[in-house]
Structures are given as C-alpha cells and as structure tokens.
C-alpha cells in the first residue's frame, strides 16, 4: 500500500526502487514466516492420536472415558476403522463397562457369509458370554456351538469350559461329562471344568464320577496360586463328602492334602478334627482344633472349633482343661455377640460400609484390596462370606459406577455454569479440583519429608500411635515423680515396650512407605473425570463469550445432566438399601449362630460340673 501511495504521489525513481525493495523484502519475510508455521496435523495423524488417547483410558480400565472418547472420535470421523470393526470395538468397550445388553447385540456376528471367520468366532464367543450373564442359557449354549476353530488357544479352551458350564447350569450332566471329555488337557480351564463337573455330579448323586474328577483336581501338580487354591477346594470338597458319609479315613486322606496356609485351611482343620472324632480319636482331633481355635474368631469355623476343643478334652477325661476352654469360648462368643450387635446397629444406620460408600475406588483392583483391607479383625470380617459372593461384590461395583456417573454429571453442570458465565465468585469445579489436588500435593510433601527423614511415626497406624503416646505419657509422669525406686521396674517395662514398638515401626518402615506412596498415586488417579487433571488451571481465555447455538445447546445439556444426576441419586439410595439389607440378613444369621454356640458352651460347662458333682455326692 505504501508503494501504491508512492506511485500515486509521483515518487522519484530511486525512491520508488527503494520502496519496491522494502516491499519485496516484507513480502518475502511474510512468506518465510508462513513457511515456519507447521501445517495443521493431517487427518491420519488426528485419527492415530484419537485412537491412542482412547487406548490410554482402555489400558487404565477407565471404560467410561474410553467410550466417551470413542463416541467423540466417531462423531468427528476420526476413527480409522471399518464400520463393522467400529461396532465390534464399541461392543467390546460396552461389555467391559457393563452395558452388556447392547454389547450382546453389537458383538453378535452379522449375518452373511462375507464376515471373516475370525470375526465371526469372536462375535459368537462374546455373544455366549453375555447371554450366560443374562441367564439365557439356551442362547449361550447355541452361541458357543457356533464358534469354530481359529480362536487363540486360551480363548478356545475358555469356550470349551463355558460349554461344560452351560450344560451343567441346564442340568444336562451326562452331556456335560461328554463335552468335558472332548476338552484338551493341561489348561487352567480344563481344571476348572473338571472341578465344577465333579461338584455337580456329587450333588446329583453321581458320587463315583464326581469323586474321580475332584480327586484328580486335588492331585494336580500345580504351582500358581489360583490352581493351588482350586486343588485345595477340590480336596476340601472330597473330604467333606466323606464326612457326610461318615467315612473317616478317606476324609482324613483328602483333608490332609489341603494346605495349612490358604483360603480353605480353616475348613480343612475343622473337618480333620471331626474325622478323627467320628472314630473316637479325640486326642488326634485336638491337634487341628487347637490350631484352628487360635485363629480369628470372626470366622465361623474358628467359632466351631472353640466349642469342639473343650468337647474333645472332656472326651479324653481332662475336665479341668475342658472347663478352661469352654470358659474361654464363652468370653469370645460374648465379645463376638457384642461385635455383631454393634455391626447390626451400624448397618441399620447405614454407616457399616460408610468408607466404601463415601469414597469408592474407581478401579476393581483397589476395590478388592479395600475390601480385603477391612481386615480379619474388623467388623467387615463378620460378613466375609458376603464379600466372597460375586453378586454382592457386583452391588458395590454398581454403586461405584453410579457414583462415578453422578460425579461426572455434577462436574458438567458446574462447567456449563462456568461457561455460561453463571458461575459464582469462584467456579466450584475449578475450586474442587484445585483444592483436591492441593490437598494431595500437601500429603505428597508430608510423605516426602517423612521418607527423607525416616520418621517411623509418620506411617504408624492409629492404634500404634495411640500406644506410643500412651507410653510416652506414662514415662513423662514417672519422670515427674522424681525417679521413685519403686517405680523403676515399671519404668523399665515401659522402655522395653517403647523400644519394641520403635523397632517394629522401623523394621516395617520401607514397606509402609511404599504402600503409602502407591495410595497417594491412587488418590491422584481419582481426580473426578472431565475436570482437568492439570491442577485446575483453566485454559487461556477464548476470544469473546459463547454465542447463539452453543449457549442453547449447553443449556439443554445442562438440563439433561441435572435430570440424569437426580436419577443417579435415586439409584445410589436403592443400592445402599439393598447392600444394607443383605448385610443385615447375614449379620442376623451370624447372631443366631453365635447364640447357639453360646448355649452349647454353657451347656458343656454345666455338664462337666454336673458330672463332677454327681461323682462327689455320697451314694445312698
């Protein structure tokens, strides 16, 4: 424009030449600048990134985020997949996230001969699994039969296993046995199928076949923890079958093959005692029962052994020991009753599982660990059978899923308020995520300080800390008494106790620090979704406010989010109620059982005193 102006103004030759040079240089400079700016990422790059960012959520088992990213990418045509593959992928994600009704439709192989066999096989495989989950056994069985050769070896073994399972579930045991005989030996699936078939055969009176299968599972030479547990379970089942048949020797034979340390050891120890007891070998019965009664009394088999042990002592003419063990049992049963009653009260108030309800972990691994961490000494151990129940665990997972959905929706409502400028002085979403991350950072800093200074008290449990403080308090009081010689022994004992506590805390410092470190990592991973994981720092502002269409669409979206969030709230209360009811029913069952044991123990003591008195009474 300067050049045009110069021309219009009648600039001289050299002046014009200078201006032209400058203009050319300016133009070249602009082109150079444009060349320095990289072009937009290509469609191929966008598709690749869309897929890989979805994989991040998939690999971290955040199926909700993976599905959202999938649908967003599909809307933008950023998925480098054929339509059929998209459906399969979507179906697989839905199956992982528990939307199995839709997954079943998507994964069902499309009709027509053009579908490659590998895709068809996978489709039938997933169709069978989802049908079984929905208790549609006939569909599951017929889908499993559509699977042809070509699956990976482990999946093929799994299909064979499921075929046996479906037939057992339909009560077609002979067919199940024939199906089982076609399975390839050696896989874990083969062992599971053999076990389930054996149990089913025992239940329907095919004892010979059932025992043969279970004994074979019990004698498998295995070394993985799952297979060892399965072998224990098989041996236990055989042992208890023989106990019911009052056949002691084969019962002992089977039960002694169960590992002493394992999930089935308590039941095996109890059964062993009874097997000896049936043959009046009470001294031998005392061996497993004495071991068992020392274990945690929330376990029903331990409660049983607390009664069986003094009973055996009474049989071997050791009434003094019998009375001692009965009285010990009485004390423990009374303590147990109190624990059960307190737990029932908490369950009725809704606070029994409060830690799991208020902050449910968002991944399965942490859920299982948190359930185990409720620990053998805790009240939750009273309902350990419930926790072992897959359906009960499913209730917790469902609760967790709904809570996650609600968090997601509430976060959207806040974000939309912010976007539409309806936010309060400090946008709550930003405050929540920023405050949350600030809290976690503080914890992280405390953790780092504790680790670098090896502060053993930093990772002490509450009861250890309380004990440490109690000891320190007592020491301080003793010192203030001026070193009275009569209190020297007590002071020495306090020093020993404190020393032991310090030694234990020091010895376990590294392990506790590692555990806390990993829990901190999990805390950070629990940042509510759809809020930035970036310390709540907002993006730099857009030029101008939202306009027209976006505002209206967001308003509609906000309304939907609020409505669905309210429905989530209703569902959460329904789940809490169901979990509460199941827990109460289980605790009530335990209370009745403990009352029966208490009565038996009192009866046992009374018996012994009665017999002793009758011996002492003068003969008439």
């Amino acid at each position: 424009m300067v050049v045009v102006g110069a021309l219009a103004g009648g600039a001289s030759g050299p002046q014009l030449r200078r201006m032209l040079c400058v203009a050319v240089l300016v133009l070249v400079g602009s082109v150079g600048q444009a060349k320095d700016t990289p072009p937009a990422p290509s469609g191929k790059v966008k598709k690749d990134i869309a897929y890989k960012t979805m994989l991040f959520d998939l690999y971290t088992k955040d199926y909700l985020s993976a599905l959202i990213k999938f649908e967003v990418a599909a809307s933008r045509d950023e998925l480098a997949m054929a339509p059929r593959d998209k459906d399969q992928f979507r179906g697989g994600l839905m199956l992982s996230y528990g939307i199995h009704n839709d997954a079943r439709q998507l994964l069902r192989p499309p009709a027509g001969v053009t579908t490659p066999p590998a895709i068809k096989n996978l489709g039938w495989y997933y169709t069978a699994k989802t049908a079984y989950r929905d208790r549609d056994l006939e569909s599951a069985w017929s889908a499993a039969n559509e699977v042809r050769d070509g699956l990976p070896a482990d999946s093929a073994a799994e299909v064979s296993y499921w075929k046996v399972e479906y037939l057992i579930a339909m009560g077609r045991y002979d067919e199940a046995a024939r199906q089982f005989s076609k399975m390839l030996k050696g896989s874990d699936w083969y062992a599971y199928a053999m076990f389930n078939l054996g149990v089913a055969q025992l239940r329907v009176g095919q004892a010979k076949e059932g025992l043969a299968n279970l004994v074979a599972v019990g004698r498998l030479g295995v070394d993985t923890s799952e297979m060892l547990a399965l072998a224990d379970k098989a041996n236990l089942t055989v042992g208890y079958f023989y106990l019911r048949e009052r056949k002691s020797e084969p019962a002992v034979d089977a039960l002694t093959r169960v590992r002493l340390v394992g999930p089935f050891s308590n039941k095996a120890l109890l059964g062993l005692g009874w097997a000896h007891s049936f043959e009046r070998r009470y001294a031998q019965a005392l061996v497993p029962w004495t071991e068992l009664r020392q274990r945690t009394s929330t376990d029903v088999t331990v409660q049983e052994s607390m009664l069986a042990t003094p009973f055996a002592y009474a049989q071997v003419a050791a009434p003094a020991q019998a009375v001692r063990y009965y009285e010990d049992a009485l004390e423990r049963y009374i303590a147990l009753q109190t624990l059960i009653e307190n737990s029932m009260e908490e369950s009725e108030k809704g606070s029994f599982f409060a830690p799991l309800f208020e902050a449910p972990p968002f991944d399965d691994v942490t859920l299982s660990r948190r359930m185990r961490e409720l620990g053998p000494e805790s009240r939750a151990a009273l309902v350990s059978e419930l926790f072992g129940n897959e359906e009960f665990q499913g209730l917790f997972r469902a609760y967790r899923d709904v809570l996650r959905l609600k968090s997601n929706l509430d976060a959207w409502v806040n974000r939309i308020d912010l976007l539409q400028g309806r936010a309060r002085a400090e946008p709550p979403a930003k405050r929540d995520s920023a405050a949350y991350l600030a809290q976690v950072r503080q914890l992280r800093e405390k953790y780092n300080r504790a680790v670098s200074s090896r502060d053993y008290l930093a990772f002490a449990e509450a009861n250890e800390l309380a004990r440490y403080e109690r000891i320190a308090g007592l020491q301080h009081r003793l010192e203030s008494l001026g070193g009275d010689p009569s209190s020297e022994l007590f002071a020495q004992r306090l020093r020993v106790q404190k020393g032991l506590l310090q030694w234990n805390l020091n010895a376990s410092f590294d392990a506790r620090a590692r555990k806390t470190g990993s829990q901190l990592g999990e805390l950070l991973a629990r940042t509510p979704p759809q809020t930035t994981k970036n310390e709540g720092v907002p993006a730099q502002s857009v030029a101008g406010p939202l306009e027209g269409d976006a505002v209206e669409r967001l308003s509609v979206g906000r309304g939907r989010a609020q409505a669905i969030s309210d429905r989530c709230g209703v569902l959460l209360r329904a789940y809490q109620k169901l979990i509460q009811e199941e827990t109460l029913a289980e605790l009530e069952r335990k209370r009745r059982l403990t009352s029966a044991y208490l009565a038996q123990a009192r009866y046992g003591v009374a018996q012994i005193y009665d017999e002793a008195n009758s011996k002492l009474a003068p003969k008439k």
Binding site: Y59, N389, L405, W412, L419, K533, V542, E582
Partner: protein
C-alpha cells in the same frame, strides 16, 4: 444315649449343617432386585455417554477454536530405561499441567497409549514450552530431566508430542518435543 453322646450328635449336626459341600458361599443376593437395578444402570450409562459426547463436542468447539487450539500429548517408546512418575508442563513460563502417574498409567504409555496432557488457546506467534519429567532412571536411580521447545502457532490447530524414548546405544532415556 448319655449326655456326652447327645452333645456329640448335636455338635456333629451343627458342623455338617454349617459347611457347604462345595465350599461356596451359601448366601444368595436378592437376584431380582439386583437385576432390575442393573438394567437401570445400563440405561443410565448409555445416556451419560451420549450426553458426554455431545457436551464434549460443544465445549471443545466453543472453548478451543481451531485458530487458537494447542494440544500437548505425552507418549513413551519402550520404557526400559525410564519409569515415569510425574511430569510438569509450562508454556510461556506458566504452569499449565502437572500429573503424577500410577503404575497402571505408566504401563499404559509404555504399551503405546498416548495421554493428552493439556489443551489450551494460544495466539499466533512463538511460544516456549518446558516439560520436566521425574521418575526412575537406569538402575532405579532418581531421575529428573527437562525438555524445552519453541513452537510457532499459526492459524491451524497445533499438536505437540512430548516423547520419552530409550536410546539403546547410550542406555539412557531421551526426552524430545516435536510438533505433528
């Protein structure tokens, strides 16, 4: 039968009634109630996914127009020489992202997944990016490295990749930033 005999029979009956033959938990959850709730959850999940999709599309279109959009991703290659524990990201000397990685997340990156660390709006021109990576290096030693990069923002979306790779010759990790 004497008292001892009665007691023994009672105890036997008690134990055999208690322990199930297949050692499965006897407790059955109320299946009908659980299934009804399950159907409701499945419907809810679908609605939430659909809503999230719509809102994400609206939000990204409104909040991050193409002319100013910059997306920064993190990826890893192999991962034998470095275990990622955290990353801090600054653009133009302002902290824009920070993330602590769980083992599962680090493993996901090593398997080939990519994480979007930051999306923001930046004007046309030069911008300075600094990324600080913290983790465990070769032989498990603490390791902190920074990578910086100057990128030019034009009128189209910019995608930047923070990549951690293994340099086998040096037995060391390498931290690079590039623009797609």
């Amino acid at each position: 039968m004497g008292i001892r005999g009665v007691s023994r029979s009672l105890l036997c009956a008690l134990v055999l009634a208690l322990v199930p033959i297949a050692s499965h938990a006897e407790h059955n959850v109320d299946g009908a109630a659980a299934r009804s709730l399950d159907a409701q959850i499945q419907a809810l999940k679908k609605e939430v996914i659909d809503l999230n999709k719509e809102l994400t599309l609206i939000e990204e279109e409104a909040m991050f127009p193409e002319a100013t959009q910059v997306s920064i991703f993190l990826s890893m290659d192999i991962g034998d020489f470095f275990t990622l524990e955290s990353v801090k990201l600054k653009v133009d000397d302002k902290l824009v992202a920070s993330h602590l990685y769980t083992q599962v997340e680090s493993a996901a990156l090593v398997k080939g997944a990519v994480q979007r660390l930051h999306i923001g709006n930046y004007g046309a021109g030069k911008h300075e990016l600094v990324a600080v990576f913290t983790g465990k290096g070769p032989r498990g030693a603490d390791y902190t490295r920074a990578a910086n990069y100057t990128f030019q923002k034009g009128k189209t979306p910019a995608y930047l990749d923070l990549k951690v790779t293994d340099v086998v010759k040096k037995l060391q990790p390498d931290f690079k930033v590039s623009q797609w």
